[in-house]
Every structure is written in structure tokens, then in C-alpha cells.
């Protein structure tokens, strides 16, 4: 194939943007990984699945799936230097569809993830006057103007729309400034701030009366749990969804690394940092849960929960019951949610922006305005509505299971088995990393991860067909659940059919070429 440097230039535009420092890249990668799931999902998953004994399957999942997958995404992004469609197309032309699929997944997640951050912004404000009153559950429903039945959009909720506009302005503003001056600088502020705010919250939580009751519930080991297959599925699922692997973020972020970057070492730091925050969140959340159980004379099991119910109903109840400075505790909690969410949202939207830049040779500002603006408009049209919570819930469940997790399964099968690329990716990682990857990496990614992800897929499909998710109607799920997940796949396949001349005329990327 003839190489025409002029044509190739249209893909890379000028030189690809780069992180200013290694710490900057790491903070951005950690900011992406630490999100709402660390705070409102991990503590409950651990508590439900063996408590202290969950640590064992959790650590095994981190070392045999989480960090190996992170390394794989780093090497793909670094070696092929592109957003997911470009990186996969450079790897092998048909694989480009996976990249577009991941971009569609990011677009979908971004439009609903933003609205949760908008709720948290409002709740940060509500904290000052404890405005949720005595019945935070009813308050939350009224705040969202929640419809009785799931369905399509019927009425608009401006109380959510305004903060949502703010979230999009901040996110797109950060992205418009670019990798160094935008994403890197924002995360250098966000991550230390998050650790300080959440750290202060944890210190306050563990000194509350009854905190040890909650911690006892979270950490008491139930060793019989580790012989239960579903506990292992929960551990791998938690690691997997918490680390932001499977939808191209780490490929995109790693494409901005310098040629000589330690990928294995970076993956270890990012993976352990994410889990460290998760443990911290578990301590903070369950100390607070122990306090409210003691104060209201009920068992921890009666108050422990997860997701929006934990953040927007259980936590306001806890905050209002605090003996001193409840307002401060509320602000610490909701501001932590906002910061953790924003740094993740930025990374999700960056995948889409970077792809538009790569594919159509667009300048960053223009790409941010066009595709970021489009995402913001869809987000603003669908979610600050009475049905927003239902649409969000269905879309989130289906895009996670049959988007993020399924795409990761497809990646390990295609890269590991069809293209047989794992040995060369390993060589690429080893060419610039201090800690060499052994053969174990090939085994865990080639065998362990596909088996576990395949089992997770089977297990979740089985449940899907046994009963409708959350008891929603089949018609609603076909549209907001299955429809969304399938649309992402169709979009991926369709986009890969177009010719991409600039990439096809490039020379093949080899290990030597990629690791100069």
C-alpha cells in the first residue's frame, strides 16, 4: 500500500495533543475511574456479598481483570494513538466497529450521567437549609416532579434543567481548553479537592455515635459467601464498572501519552487509587448508616441501600438527624458527588470529542461545540422531565450490561482470539514499562476475563428474560432499554462501513513503530 504523508496528516491534524506531565495523566485517569459508583454502589455491593469476606474476590477481580484490562486499553490507545474508532481501525479494519460502538455508549452515558450531577448540585444547595424536611423520599419525588408511571416525556422540570445547563457549560468549557489546559488542569484541582472534602466527611462519619455498628456490618466476614458464584460475579462486576474500562475512555486518554510512558506502572496506580477511594467511601457511608440505624433504633439492614436512593433519600435523612453542623456534612457529601461525577463526565464526553476530531479532522473547539452541544441538547430534552428518572434507570441498566460489559467481552475475544494481538500488545507495554508483564497477563485476558464476562452476560440475560427489569412494561423497556443498547451496536457497525481514506493509506503500525 502506498503511503501518502499528506493524507495521513489529515488524521493526525497537526501533532496529537499530549499530557504535560505523567501525574497529570494519572490524575485524569483516576478522576475518570472515581465516579458516583465508588460512593453509592461499592459500599452496598460489598455489604450484600459477604462483607469483609468480599475483599478476597474483590482483590482477585482487581488483579485478574481490572488492572489487566486497564493495561490493555492503555496499550491500545498508546500504540495506535487515536480515539477508539481510529485506534481499532489501525489495529484491524473490521475492528473499527467496536470503536464506534464505544463512542455511542459514551454519548448515551454522558446524556444521563450529567443529570445526576445536576441533582447533586441542587442538593448541595438544599443542604444549607436542610430543605428536604422530615420526609426526604417524598421531597425527592416532588423535586423531580416524578411521574407515577414510566413512559415517554410528558412535562418539563425547570428546577433540574438549570443546574443541568450549568453542568454542560462547565464540562464543555473544560474540554474546549484541551488536554493540557482543560482536562489535566481541572483534574489537578478536582482530585485533591475530592480527597479533602470526602476525607473530612469520613472523619466526621466515623466519630458519630453508632458508626462502629455500620462498620461492623460492612466488614464482618461471612466466609460462606466466597463459595457462592453470584458473589464472584458481583466482585468482577464492581471492579469492571468502577474502573471505567470497556467504553474507550482509557484508550482515548492513553492516546495523549508521550511515546515513552510507563503503562503497566500507571495502570497499577490508577487501579489501586480507584479501589482506595472505594474503601474510603465504604467506611464513610457505612459509618453514617450505622449512626442513623442507632439513632432510629432499627437494624443496619433496614437502612442500607445504594444508588440514587442512598444519595438523595437515605443521606438527607442521615444529615437531618446529625447532632451538630448537619449543613456542613450535607455540603461535603453532595459536593463530593458533584466533583466525582464531573471528572468522570469530562472523560466520557472527551471520547466523543476526540473521535470527531480524528474522523473529520476538526479543530477541538469546533468538535466540542458541535458534538458536545448535541449531547447537551439531547440531555436537556430528555432528562429534566417527569419521566427522566425512569428513562435514566432503564437506559443505564441496559447500556451497562449490553453496552459496556458486552463491548469489553467483544474486545477481549476479538483482540485476544480473533486478531491474536495480546502478545504484541504485551511486547508494546513491556517496551516502555519498568515492570514487565509476564505470561500471566495473556492468560488472565485471554481466558479468565472472557469466561467471567461471558458468565456475567449469560447471568444477566437470564434475569432479563425471567422478569422485566424493575417491573417496567415491555414496551417501555424495548424503547428505553433494549432499543438504546441495540442502537449503539447498529451505529457502531454502520459507521465502520464508511471509507476512511486517510487511515487506509497509512503504513501498518508495528510494535517498533508504535513504541518509538
Amino acid at each position: 500500500m502506498q503511503f501518502d504523508p499528506e493524507v495521513a496528516m489529515t488524521v493526525e491534524q497537526q501533532q496529537r495533543e499530549q499530557w504535560a506531565t505523567r501525574a497529570g495523566f494519572l490524575l485524569a485517569a483516576i478522576g475518570s475511574a472515581i465516579g458516583l459508583g465508588n460512593i453509592w454502589r461499592f459500599p452496598y455491593v460489598a455489604y450484600e456479598n459477604g462483607g469483609g469476606a468480599f475483599l478476597l474476590p474483590y482483590l482477585i477481580a482487581l488483579l485478574t481483570a481490572g488492572i489487566p484490562l486497564l493495561i490493555l486499553e492503555y496499550t491500545i490507545g498508546h500504540r495506535y494513538r487515536g480515539s477508539p474508532p481510529l485506534a481499532f481501525r489501525r489495529m484491524s479494519r473490521p475492528a473499527e466497529a467496536i470503536g464506534w460502538w464505544q463512542v455511542a455508549i459514551c454519548f448515551i452515558i454522558a446524556i444521563y450521567y450529567a443529570v445526576i450531577i445536576a441533582w447533586a448540585v441542587r442538593y448541595t444547595g438544599f443542604s444549607f437549609g436542610l430543605e428536604w424536611g422530615d420526609d426526604p423520599g417524598t421531597f425527592f419525588g416532588e423535586f423531580l416532579d416524578l411521574a407515577d408511571e414510566p413512559g415517554m416525556v410528558s412535562s418539563y422540570v425547570s428546577a433540574v434543567a438549570w443546574p443541568l445547563i450549568g453542568i454542560w457549560v462547565v464540562t464543555l468549557g473544560v474540554l474546549a481548553f484541551g488536554v493540557r489546559r482543560g482536562i489535566e488542569r481541572a483534574n489537578k484541582i478536582f482530585i485533591p479537592l475530592l480527597v479533602v472534602l470526602f476525607g473530612a466527611l469520613v472523619v466526621r462519619a466515623v466519630t458519630l455515635e453508632g458508626a462502629t455498628l455500620g462498620l461492623d456490618a460492612l466488614f464482618s466476614p461471612d466466609w460462606s459467601a466466597i463459595t457462592d458464584g453470584s458473589v464472584w460475579v458481583a466482585a468482577y462486576g464492581q471492579i469492571f464498572f468502577s474502573l471505567s474500562v470497556g467504553f474507550g475512555i482509557m484508550i482515548t486518554y492513553a492516546s495523549y501519552l508521550r511515546r515513552r510512558a510507563d503503562m503497566t506502572g500507571s495502570a497499577l496506580v490508577a487501579g489501586f487509587a480507584n479501589s482506595s477511594f472505594e474503601i474510603l467511601a465504604g467506611i464513610g457511608v457505612f459509618a453514617a448508616v450505622g449512626f442513623i440505624a442507632t439513632a432510629s433504633g432499627v437494624a443496619v439492614a433496614d437502612v442500607a441501600t445504594q444508588g440514587p436512593g442512598l444519595a438523595f433519600v437515605a443521606f438527607p435523612t442521615i444529615i437531618s438527624s446529625l447532632p451538630a453542623t448537619p449543613e456542613l456534612f450535607g455540603v461535603l457529601f453532595f459536593a463530593s458527588l458533584v466533583i466525582a461525577g464531573l471528572s468522570s463526565l469530562i472523560s466520557i464526553v472527551e471520547v466523543v470529542v476526540s473521535t470527531v476530531q480524528d474522523r473529520w479532522g476538526m479543530r477541538r473547539e469546533r468538535a466540542v461545540l458541535l458534538i458536545g452541544g448535541a449531547a447537551a441538547l439531547v440531555s436537556l430534552a430528555l432528562f429534566p422531565t417527569s419521566e427522566g428518572l425512569y428513562i435514566l434507570d432503564a437506559a443505564d441498566h441496559f447500556i451497562n450490561q449490553y453496552g459496556v460489559a458486552l463491548a469489553a467481552l467483544v474486545v477481549v475475544i476479538v483482540v485476544g482470539w480473533l486478531l491474536r494481538q495480546l502478545p504484541s500488545q504485551r511486547a508494546h507495554a513491556n517496551s516502555t514499562s519498568a515492570v514487565p508483564l509476564g505470561r500471566w497477563w495473556l492468560v488472565v485476558l485471554g481466558v479468565v476475563t472472557p469466561v467471567v464476562l461471558g458468565w456475567m452476560m449469560y447471568d444477566s440475560l437470564r434475569q432479563e428474560f425471567a422478569e422485566n427489569y424493575e417491573g417496567y412494561t415491555t414496551g417501555f423497556l424495548l424503547l428505553a432499554g433494549w432499543g438504546v443498547a441495540i442502537a449503539a451496536i447498529v451505529f457502531g457497525l454502520a459507521m465502520s462501513l464508511f471509507r476512511w481514506r486517510a487511515v487506509d493509506s497509512e503504513p501498518a503500525v508495528g510494535v517498533e513503530e508504535g513504541s518509538r
Binding site: 475483599l55 462502629t212 466488614f219 511515546r259 497499577l268 479501589s275 482506595s276
Partner: protein
């Protein structure tokens, strides 16, 4: 708190936070090599 819970709490902190500190120290010992200037 029960003894079992205290042990697991301490183990979780030691292993996970210890893992983070160890991996940061290991990475800092190996600064990225300087760029060569070939495009």
C-alpha cells in the same frame, strides 16, 4: 466491632492503600525516559 470485622477493616486498608503507596513509589523510581525528537 467484632474482632473479625476489625481484622478485615485493617487488612482492607493495608492491602489496598498499601498497594497504592507501593505502586506510586515503584512508578516514581522509574521516571519516563526523555523523548527522542524523531517525529
Amino acid at each position: 466491632m467484632s474482632t473479625g470485622a476489625v481484622i478485615m477493616l485493617v487488612l482492607a486498608i493495608l492491602i489496598v492503600w498499601g498497594g497504592l503507596v507501593t505502586s506510586i513509589v515503584a512508578l516514581r523510581r522509574h521516571p519516563d525516559l526523555p523523548e527522542d525528537h524523531t517525529p
